[in-house]
Amino acid sequence: MARKFTDAAIAGIGQTEFSKASGRSELQLAAECAKAACDDAGISPHDIDGMITFTIDNSDEVNLARCLGVKDLAYTTRIPGGGAAAAATIYQAMGMVNAGLCNNVLIWRAMNERSQYRFGQNPQQQQMQYQSGNGTGSLLWCVPYGAMTPASWGALQAARYMHQYGVTNRDLGYISVQQRAYAANNPNAWFYQKPITLEDHQNSKWIQEPWLRLLDCCQESDGGVAVLVTSLERARDLKQPPVKIVGATQSIPYNVEVISNYYHEDLTEMPEAKGVAKRLWAMTGLKPSDMQMAALYDAFTPHVLLQLEAFGFCKPGEGKDFVKGGGMALDGELPVNTNGGLTGEAYIHGMNSMIEGVRQIRGTSYNQIKKKAVEHVLISSGMAGAVLEKA
């Protein structure tokens, strides 16, 4: 195909049900959500020519391509960083389409992260295999000290920030309550019809004292999510209203790593998200006030505040007041994670919140923003981000 700059768009989204026990293989979940994304777009899986996921997914590219009958794959990649790379999939798919190298890029992530293995438990083996490629280069320095779970690494990352700005665990509760309110109205959410109060949050057990309670932590879930990216021009002829990828990027500043992230200069901020924001706003010519919604990776509630501040929705230390004042609500300044997020809907490694951003632009969310027309949505997984636009 001719090499010319080609605008990219999201033409399809797909998912399985979100559960605690899928009862089938991760490869099957991957195939099901991939097929759903292709059906949503109205293309045949045979025509997929690019495939992107991120590290910690257990399904093999070729095995998934075999399920889908992919005829001729032109590009595959697996991005380091685990969930921090969730939005980097959009970035790479955009790049492939922009460069005219692929026509139909499938992004997927599928996991039995509750029924088959659990991120929230101690490592199964004493000597965990800390392979390269996960973006978490220093985990092995944490384990002999009893920091063995993502919550422990995440709490340690948030502690200095919370201390510096006087963010209490109760302050974090406003995030959980809002996201559970969204989930309560979303039939796809594990916590559908199960809202919580601030007291429920404060009564939940300590996971990491004195920072994170149970209701500050994302779920552990089984399920799969897929996204189909193609050219904007082609997307206009497909089944769904196209969602343009107006910009996307990744940022890994010096001495930053995923979650065991204690070596960069200022521990009261998230330099990777600041780096993403800087490039994303420069690339798109847009600014925080141009966004009508944000999907922010919420493995743990403090990271919502850190991202709100990094992207410039509020000043350093003011995230807690923003959420307390209802800023994340449907009628607030910036509705955030309207699917319920990773705490309320499910934990499909960030991907499920990303497709909620697509639904908001299409106008098909269960918690549709009606106060204003949704023209732009920010997607962030901390180390990567994208801005989606109503085409």
Binding site: Q126, Y145, G146, A147, T149, A151, Q157, A159, Y263
Partner: protein, 145 residues
């Protein structure tokens, strides 16, 4: 270097898991076994780095010096893992980010202090605790300001 009580008799064998040793960090753990806190300093420009790495990120030198560190620092962040209880600890440890006088940070434990007494910027000094398989790891205890 330490006045920690010796490990009690056989019944009380260390339960802390041993360090995961990589080639570039072997000096650190070998030092810890001898109750020495060693750091990596560039043999050309003198930059201290942590975690250890084969090349100096400032001058790209491959000359590494493994030098004794002061063992003194302050706590820049800490947490107590309550659930799930971390493997190998009878009581929940205090996990901390310690910033050493040399300007580098490392994850460790703070021992010899009640959780209620923990505070940010607590001054600490190094001591050592045994692990399974006869190794030791550097941990930190409060020191007077």
């Amino acid at each position: 270097m330490t006045d920690q009580p010796q490990a009690a008799p056989a019944a009380d064998k260390p339960t802390r898991i041993p360090p995961i040793v990589t080639l570039d960090a072997k000096f650190f753990w070998d030092g810890a076994d001898q109750e020495q806190l060693l750091g990596e300093k560039c043999g050309d420009c003198g930059l201290f780095v942590f975690p250890p790495r084969p090349m100096c990120p400032q001058c790209f030198s491959l000359k590494r010096q493994h030098v004794p560190l002061s063992g003194r620092g302050v706590v820049r962040g800490w947490t107590i893992p309550r659930h799930p209880p971390p493997f190998g600890f009878k009581e929940a440890p205090i996990v901390a980010i310690v910033e050493l006088e040399e300007g580098i940070r490392m994850v460790s434990n703070v021992v010899g202090i009640a959780p209620d007494a923990m505070e940010q910027d607590l001054p600490v000094e190094v001591t050592f605790e045994p692990t399974m398989k006869d190794h030791k790891v550097p941990v930190f205890r409060p020191r007077s300001k």
